[in-house]
Structure formats: C-alpha cells, structure tokens
C-alpha cells in the first residue's frame, strides 16, 4: 500500500472537490466549485477577518487526517437555514447551537465522502465525531510529517475553504 506521501495531490484534489460539490448539491441544491488549490503555507489564515464557523472532522486508519471546513458566519447561517428549511427569523430564534450542529453535520458529510473515496482507493479509515470552532483569522499548522493542503471553493457569491492535513497511519 502506498504511504501518505505517495498519495497524489491529484487524488486528494479530485476527492475533496467531488465531496464538497456533491454535499452542497444534494443537501442545498447549490453549486460549489473549486477555484484555488495549493499547498498551505505556514501561518497562512485560510479564513477571512469576519467571524467564521469552522467544522472539523478527522479520519483514522491506514491514513490519518483532519479536514477543516471554513465558512463565513453569514454563509453558515444561510446553509443551516436551507438544510433545515428555516427562515431567518426561525434561525435567529433557534440560536448558534443549531448552526454549529448543522455545519458539523455538513462537514461530516463532506469528510465522509472524501474518506469513503480514499477507502475505496485502498486506504481504509474511519470518521471521528465532528467539532466546531468559531474564530477569526484562524489558521492551523501541521507537523513536518503531515501533508497540508488548502482548497478554496466558490458557492454563488460566497467562499468556503477546505483545509486538509493528512499522514499515513502508524
């Protein structure tokens, strides 16, 4: 079996691109298109200076990794409303907890689709439970042994970022 370093960037890009597009299309009927893909640089903040909701789900097995999905707070609220069929007033009444849960589940679906494609490519692994961060100018840094890549998507006038850290299992 190839090690993480041997997993082509192409495989990661294709899988995350398909996963994000599929989840946004199925759950919200929206198109999310990959616009920029690059190796993440140390200290670079993929988010913007506005408040962000960041979903995180990991995968463990023959490959270990973490995927961070960055959405501006306004976009996160909009996605939650669409997924749950809530209008702006109902969403405001429901509170941030509902948005956190919806973005956690959205991230879970994206990472699930991404990870399932890796499983089918010969890297069996399992998902971890989602978690949520709320922050501005948030950036993650990886250890030297891990691959760290960043993928930016456009969804209408909105932007979302999938940050991926990946390394082979011990």
């Amino acid at each position: 079996m190839p090690a993480a370093a041997e997993i082509s960037e192409c495989l990661i890009r294709e899988n995350i691109s398909r996963a994000v597009a599929d989840v946004f299309k199925t759950m919200m009927g929206r198109s999310a298109i990959l616009s920029v893909a690059h190796a993440a640089e140390r200290g670079e903040a993929p988010g913007t200076s506005v408040d962000q909701v960041i979903g995180t789900v990991g995968f463990i097995g023959d490959l270990n990794g973490l995927v961070y999905l960055y959405l501006d707070e306004g976009f996160a609220n909009q996605c939650t409303g669409q997924i749950l069929g809530l209008n702006a007033f109902e969403l405001a009444a429901a509170g941030a907890e509902v948005v956190n849960d919806a973005i956690g589940e959205l991230t879970n679906m994206v990472v699930g689709s991404f990870k399932n494609a890796l499983c089918d490519a010969g890297y069996p692994c399992k998902l971890t439970i989602p978690s949520i961060l709320r922050a501005r100018n948030f950036c993650i840094q990886s250890t030297r042994r891990a691959e760290h890549r960043s993928y930016r998507f456009t969804c209408g006038s909105h932007r979302l970022v999938a940050d991926i850290i990946i390394k082979s299992g011990d």
Binding site: D22, V23, T26, M27, T80, I83, L84, G85, V98, D101, A102, G104, E105, N108, M109, V111, G112, S113, K115, N116, C119, D120, P124, K126, L127, T128, I129, P130
Partner: protein, 387 residues
C-alpha cells in the same frame, strides 16, 4: 395504525431532516442521540423501522446494531443505516450483521422516503386521523402553463381564497417545485409542448409524496378528444377554457377534500351566522343547505340558541335563496332557536313582492340583528324573584 420510526443519530440536524422528510406521512418519529438511548427507545416503543448512524459517542452504530440483533425482542425490527461511513468494505461488513438498507450521506429526503417505503408501507398524512382541512385553511396550488395570462386569470379569480397560486411554465419547473414542496393540487395545461402535462402526471403518480395529489388538466372547451384522453390518463378533473373560476374553485375544494362549511357558517359572539357570499352560485346555495342541519345542531350542542341568516352580500333574490331561508327558519323553530334575517335594501324590497316572503322581517346590518336577538334573549330569560 401509525407507523413508528426511530432515528438514532448524534446530529440534531439529521434528526430534524428525518422528521421533516416524514412530516407528510402518517407516522411518529422517535429520536435518540446515541446507541444506548436508541436501544432504550427501541425497547420501549418497538418501532417499525430504525434509522441508524454509525459514528456516535457513547455507543456507535455497529455496537448498537449488534446488540439489537442479539436481543430476541428487538432483532426483528428492520434497520436502515443512514451514515457518512460508506467505504465498500465497511458497508459489506455491516450488511453481514443484518441491515435492510444502507444510505450514505449526503442524501435526499426523497431517497430516504423511497427506501423507507420499501420496508414499511407509508401512508400520506391526509389518509390518517386528524382535523379535516377547511376552505379557510391555506393551500399550495401549482399551475403549470406556459401562458402567463392563464396563470394570472386563475390567481385573480381565486384571490379571495387563502390558497397560494404558484405558476410555472414547464414540466421541468413543475418537477423542481414538487421536489421542494408537495402541492395540495396541480393544474396542468394539456397544451404544454411534448405532452408535458401527461409526462408530469406520470411523475406525480409515481412519487410517493405526490401520488395522491389531485391533478386537473386544462384544455380548450372545444377540444373534446383531448378532454377524453385526459380523463382516460387519470387526471382527476378536466378544466375547460374559458375558465369558470367559481366552478373551478368548487371543484378544487372538493378534490382537496376541504370542509366547505366555513365559507357559509361562522360562530360570532356566541351565535351562528349563516352568510351567503357575494358570488354565491346555485351550487353554493346547495352546499350551504347541505351543512345547515349539522351546523344548527352543533350550535345548540355548544349551548347557544341564536342564529343570524345573512343574505346582505348577494345581488339578487332567487328561488334557491328563498328555499334556503325557509329551510333555515323552519330548522331554527324546531330547535327552539331565536333567529334574525339580514338583507340589503334591494333584497328587502324584492321580498315584499312575493307572497311567501312578504311577511319576513329583515335588519339591514348584522349589528342591528344581533341587538334585536339580545333583547329577545333578555325577555325570554326567567325572572327570578328577589329575596
């Protein structure tokens, strides 16, 4: 009997989506946030179907499934996995423990309903118990016609109803509309290109959510062959152009199985008011007459004994209206109810011209009629001797 569905998922979002997906069906949804809770609810409720996630805290889906299948009381409950874990090897391993189906997230609500329906037969909610829908309740009407003037004519003609008329111009737009929400009734033009109305009828009848939705065809009055073909194809009714909107409204209400009595009868300040609307047709008068006995009986049963018969909104007196009023007055007398009549000056004058109606006393406003009934009730009340 209502079906019971248990959703076991640590995500409240998924549980809300599941609840939303099954909202239109006659079933109760039970929720659990992990395997331990799921087993407890399953033992208590014995659901007809369990939707089970895999990655959950406390007890994951694989352990939950193993425990379910080893419990003699629970092992017969069909389980459908609903999870983001979808690698081929993983699915095969879980399938061996015993699941009826497997849905990998993300999923469409229609897929969930379709697969659930293959395991337990789902019935649309309208077939189940519950309050009958009334003519005064909102309804979503979908009109599929590439001629905006027709959509506008229907919208204008039905603007006095609480129904929302949604116009789309093609079969594809109509299908897209139905994927977002289930219409209460569909009207489709037979003039849509490439037999679009027939193709859409097939879509409607094969989708579990819409298979019982009434669908009307719309066609020019002279095209009798097309009308015949539409009836054969299974349209619930054929509306002919030019459209008689009053008749269409009545047909729509019947097709949606609405309680029509609210159009004619209201309870106002503890008394029953029978009011004929301005555009009341002969069919409307018949409809009002059909509900008369039941409405008066309900009023008496509720402890009230007054009624107002109000024809003030209609434009002309005819035999049907006179018969209805006579029938209503007779029924009130039988039930010992006080009643008063309301009409406009023109109708009052017309009544003076007929032998049967000459002696009737009318009030020109509802308020005057109510005040008179109040006085009569006060007179009729027993006078208690002072102590």
């Amino acid at each position: 009997m209502r079906k019971k569905i248990l959703t076991v998922d640590d995500s409240k979002t998924v549980r809300i989506i599941v609840r939303k997906a099954f909202k239109a069906f006659d079933c109760d949804i039970f929720e659990a946030g992990n395997g331990v809770e799921g087993l407890a609810v399953a033992a208590k409720e014995l659901p007809d179907l369990i939707l089970l996630d895999i990655t959950m805290p406390v007890m994951d889906g694989v352990e939950t499934l193993t425990k379910l299948k080893s419990d003699p009381h629970l092992k017969g409950i069909p389980v459908m996995m609903l999870t983001a874990e979808g690698g081929k090897d993983h699915v095969l391993k879980i399938a061996k423990i015993g699941v009826r189906d497997y849905i990998v997230k993300p999923f469409k609500e229609d897929t969930l309903i379709d697969k659930a329906n293959r395991i337990i037969e789902l019935k649309p909610l309208a077939d189940g118990p519950g309050r009958a829908r009334s003519i005064l309740d909102p309804a979503e009407i979908l009109v599929v016609d590439d001629k905006p003037a027709i959509v506008q004519q229907i919208r204008e003609g039905l603007k006095h109803t609480p129904w929302k008329i949604n116009g789309v111009s093609s079969q594809l737009d109509a299908a897209e509309f139905c994927s977002r929400q289930v219409p209460d009734l569909v009207i489709a033009s037979l003039a849509l290109p490439e037999d679009g109305a027939y193709a859409f009828l097939r879509v409607i009848r094969t989708n579990l959510k819409t298979k019982y939705t009434p669908m009307f065809a719309l066609v020019v009055k002279t095209e009798t062959e097309a009308q015949h073909r539409a009836q054969e194809a299974g349209f619930n009714f054929v509306v002919t152009k030019p459209i008689d909107v009053a008749d269409l409204e009545s047909r729509m209400a019947k097709a949606m199985n609405l309680d029509m009595s609210g159009r004619y009868y209201t309870v106002d300040d503890d008394l029953l008011v029978l009011r004929l609307p301005e555009n009341c047709t002969q069919a409307g008068i018949t409809e009002a007459a059909q509900h008369l006995q039941a409405k008066l009986a309900e009023t008496v049963d509720a402890g009230y004994n007054q009624a107002i018969l109000d024809i003030g909104a209609i434009k002309a007196l005819d035999v049907g209206v006179i018969k209805l009023l006579m029938q209503a007055m007779e029924a009130c007398r039988e039930l010992a109810m006080h009643f008063a009549l309301v009409a406009n000056a023109q109708l009052i004058a017309e009544c003076k011209g007929y032998e049967d109606t000459r002696g009737w006393t009318f009030y020109e406003t509802l308020e005057d009629a109510k005040a008179n009934l109040g006085k009569r009730a006060a007179k009729a009340a027993p006078v208690l001797a002072g102590t």
